[in-house]
Symmetry: C2
Subunit: 411 residues, 2 copies
């Protein structure tokens, strides 16, 4: 058995880290170890600068003419093209628009309109709620003409059958970080004659996804986690090229029209991804995202994934050494089956996280007893993870102590 | 007949203008007369400062904790409450979220699900396209169970009948600026047993709207025109309080859940306006809007409307004096029947607008022959309008000249 890593080991890894140079692109708060990048990614200098330029040089200076002068109209496509290589898609298969929820609605409604005689959507129980709610809302709107089945993970594959027109799954689970096999499940869905939509919110920017190799039909995802686009930054959607012109979102709006500036009375969808646009998007939100996406140009996702696994492994190994802590791993133990965060359970998880935050270690709590720690390779160092677990150990000791005091009845 | 106003008259009006003090709150470009505030409002210093604070002090500094520390979660309601007094609504009847198109879809789908035996939505042909497209998309999604009738203005009232469950109209026409009688049409729709949804995109911030007095059911609107929220800033929606809990949007998502942080598998809508939320909104876009809305605290909408009419009247009176110009008024001549912009037609409208823009007078062109000029009382002076028409006259003279040259065959 190898000895547990030391702080010096961590410093050595940091010194040899090919991504170490990226950390300087972020504006990080001294004294904080930020392990919640899977909820809200950190601010890049680039994002701040792009937003300032959008507001002062574009909106403030060129006003409405910016739509032409600064190419505002095509920004959803340009940003989509920047995300495409991160998810194994072609530049003309990805669009940035609206929120993940709204994009999911667009695609699920489009699939529902072309469902033929099938009437079921299969998703996973315990999926991130919005994915289920959007489908349930669609089913309610269609007056029960379609049905949403939320099956536990163990029954997922068997529930996809000849009645299923769409499968909606999240690639990396928001709570446990467990990875689904995107390629195998896509093939299975296709073999059953169903289309599949992947939610990549916890995947994009955390590891390489290959929608193209899997021939996945649809995907949506969020840009404010590992892509660092800013709080509530616009989401993306992907439609495989050969499907793009064969379906139409139930949410049709003017920017998706074939000729929006002809102001015609009848909706005629644009070809390609443009038909998946809806109303006028926030250009300021786009600017923050554009800045954040800029840093990906010279990043190799294999480096990202390698470091993500190493950071998570370091964390788990050190946590396991904090014996008798009452902590249990809620994520898969094998790195290959995990995304870029680690979930632990603890009976006093909420208190634990509050105490960690007070000590500058920022993770988050998910009811009833899960604490999540995210490992973002672009701005975290190995020493940060080392320190975080040291603090976690101290916080746990203090919690144990307060528990003893509580039980003893001393106030 | 009164003599036409002089430049000195304009200077006098500016000196006595109760809104003159507001102009300093905007960052305006010297040498530009901006008459396109009905397309994209101008930048306020406040908007730039709020966005910077959101990015650097909130996101950059407090990261994910900002959701609690800075009250991000309630921002859609707080911003809605700021818009409410501008449209005659109560603070808890307005929510800021998504785009106008998406909000229209939420409300039209909610109305469709509670339509009873009625099956028609009546709207106006020539309405702003997205309003029609959203309804057409909904009808397509519902497989023809509902029908969208787009009737010309002259037939609107007669088309609202016992088959109509929803009427969707824009209060101020995007092209002609013609005002509909919100109160009378709402009463007429109600008398026919139909609900009504008003698009207030060209109204809010331009004149006082009283949804409450009219007992209008629903409204949506845009915040990047007269509210100056920034390019593509989030839209708002209004639902009369007694209706809020009786309907549910077809687009259901996690922020509209009664307990979003319980992460339950089944959608249960929140009470009140919260159920009309969808996914996570851009906080950066919200910040720009929050800054822009801040300036309305001490503005009286009666002053705004009075000045809007005066500016438009000045413009029209001077344009009428540019005789033989080939310009025709495409907006109603009576100020009470007009919103805050003026549409003119000209056979060479596109060229005309390009030439105006080159001279620093920014309006816009709408195919085939309409040029629009918007009069935004918060940052326009009477002298600006005076100068704009002077330049318009010069540009027209040059166009006529080039036309003569063209006809004479001289190259």
């Amino acid at each position: 058995m190898t000895p547990p890593p030391s702080r010096a080991d961590c410093q050595g890894w940091d010194a040899r880290d090919p991504l170490a140079r990226i950390r300087d692109k972020f504006r990080l708060k001294p004294g904080v170890i930020y392990l919640d990048g899977n909820s809200l990614g950190a601010l890049t200098h680039n994002s701040a600068a792009c937003t300032r330029a959008m507001i002062e040089d574009e909106w403030g200076h060129d006003l409405v003419r910016s739509w032409n002068v600064h190419g505002w109209f095509d920004l959803p496509h340009r940003l989509g093209a920047k995300i495409a290589p991160l998810i194994g898609a072609a530049a003309d298969e990805v669009l940035v628009a609206d929120s993940t929820s709204v994009n999911l609605f667009k695609l699920a409604s489009a699939a529902a309109m072309t469902r033929g005689t099938r009437h079921r959507i299969v998703t996973e129980s315990g999926n991130f709620p919005t994915d289920i709610y959007v489908l349930q809302g669609l089913a309610a709107l269609l007056g029960g003409a379609i049905e949403v089945v939320a099956a536990p993970r163990s029954e997922l594959l068997s529930r996809i059958d000849e009645s299923t027109f769409l499968v909606v799954l999240t690639h990396i689970h928001y709570k446990t970080a467990e990875l689904l096999d995107l390629q195998a499940i896509t093939s299975h869905a296709h073999a059953q004659g169903a289309r599949i939509l992947w939610d990549l919110s916890h995947s994009v920017g955390a590891l390489a996804v290959d929608l193209g190799a899997a021939r996945a039909d649809f995907a949506v995802g969020c840009t404010y986690k590992y892509l660092n686009g800013g709080p509530g930054s616009p989401a993306f959607l992907y439609v495989r090229r050969d499907l793009q012109d064969t379906i139409c979102p139930g949410l049709a709006a003017w920017m998706g029209h074939v000729a929006p500036f002809e102001f015609a009375d009848d909706y005629e969808p644009a070809p390609g991804m443009a038909r998946y646009r809806s109303g006028t998007p926030s250009l300021i939100a786009f600017a923050a995202l554009e800045g954040a996406l800029g840093i990906w140009d010279d990043i190799d996702l294999r480096d990202v994934r390698r470091k993500s696994e190493a950071l998570s492994e370091l964390f788990i190994a050190r946590v396991e050494a904090v014996s008798g802590s009452g902590l249990a791993l809620a994520s898969p133990r094998e790195p290959a089956r995990r995304g870029s965060h680690v979930a632990l359970t603890h009976a006093r998880g909420y208190e634990l996280m509050q105490a960690l935050i007070a000590r500058g270690v920022i993770g988050d709590f998910r009811a009833p007893d899960v604490v999540r720690f995210s490992f973002t390779p672009l701005y975290l160092r190995f020493v940060d993870v080392w320190e975080a677990v040291t603090i976690l150990g101290e916080v746990l000791a203090a919690l144990d102590c307060s528990e003893l005091v509580r039980r003893s009845g001393v106030t």
